[in-house]
Symmetry: C2
Subunit: 113 residues, 2 copies
Amino acid sequence: MVDDRHTNLDEVFHALADTTRRAMIARLASGEHTVGELARPFEMSLNAAVKHVKVLERAGLLRRRVQGRAHFCSLDARPLKEAAAFVRAYEGFWSDRLDALDSLLRQTSRPES
Amino acid sequence: MVDDRHTNLDEVFHALADTTRRAMIARLASGEHTVGELARPFEMSLNAAVKHVKVLERAGLLRRRVQGRAHFCSLDARPLKEAAAFVRAYEGFWSDRLDALDSLLRQTSRPES
DNA sequence: CCGATCGTCAACCATCCGGTTTATAATGCG
DNA sequence: CGCATTATAAACCGGATGGTTGACGATCGG
């Protein structure tokens, strides 16, 4: 079964909680890339980048197609669906009221600065 | 300025990468709760729960209204918007093709087991 | 004032994280 | 074959994380 269907949200969000890994995801959105290609843009050792790749892989966000010595990585966004479901459930919650409160506060009181 | 407007995605996603904290968020979606109320459902010390609250607060997802000795916490979902924007950008990416590939593989080749 | 309650702070601890360096395995190429 | 390339593995390190316990501060209620 290729479809993971347990989608550990902890792991998915953890994978997203790093700028390097989010950049890798963005890169993968443009198509397959080898591990080396994924690593190149970053100022870190290949080994460090490999660890990031593995974090993405563990989260189910990255799949690997080994061909010879090259490992071609591609994005699998399916785990993102559950993450998106969670975020969407609360995105926008109270925002309007808080924004209104902000404007109100900025209008009435004019504090330091 | 109440509006943070730098919304550290690292911190936001990190805050989301923990079951306890996601549960707290869900709880907060039902309205204001004190720190103690947020902590009660979990099998951990109050102090441990307080740390989770602080992680949420640092990520800008939780605001605090102190009244007497009670600290009333409320959800601020605004940082989630940027997180949602990222997730949405890649959610669904390649999914259709991968799903199609899955079915195809399961159909044509009938591998081990 | 006294005691209970709510919450914070600080110290401590084990584990994890993100990076390094070094070594090694597997493949492609001349 | 011999060597460069690609990627992994393992050991190590400093700092963050997630939990504990214990002590403290502030507030409410009697």
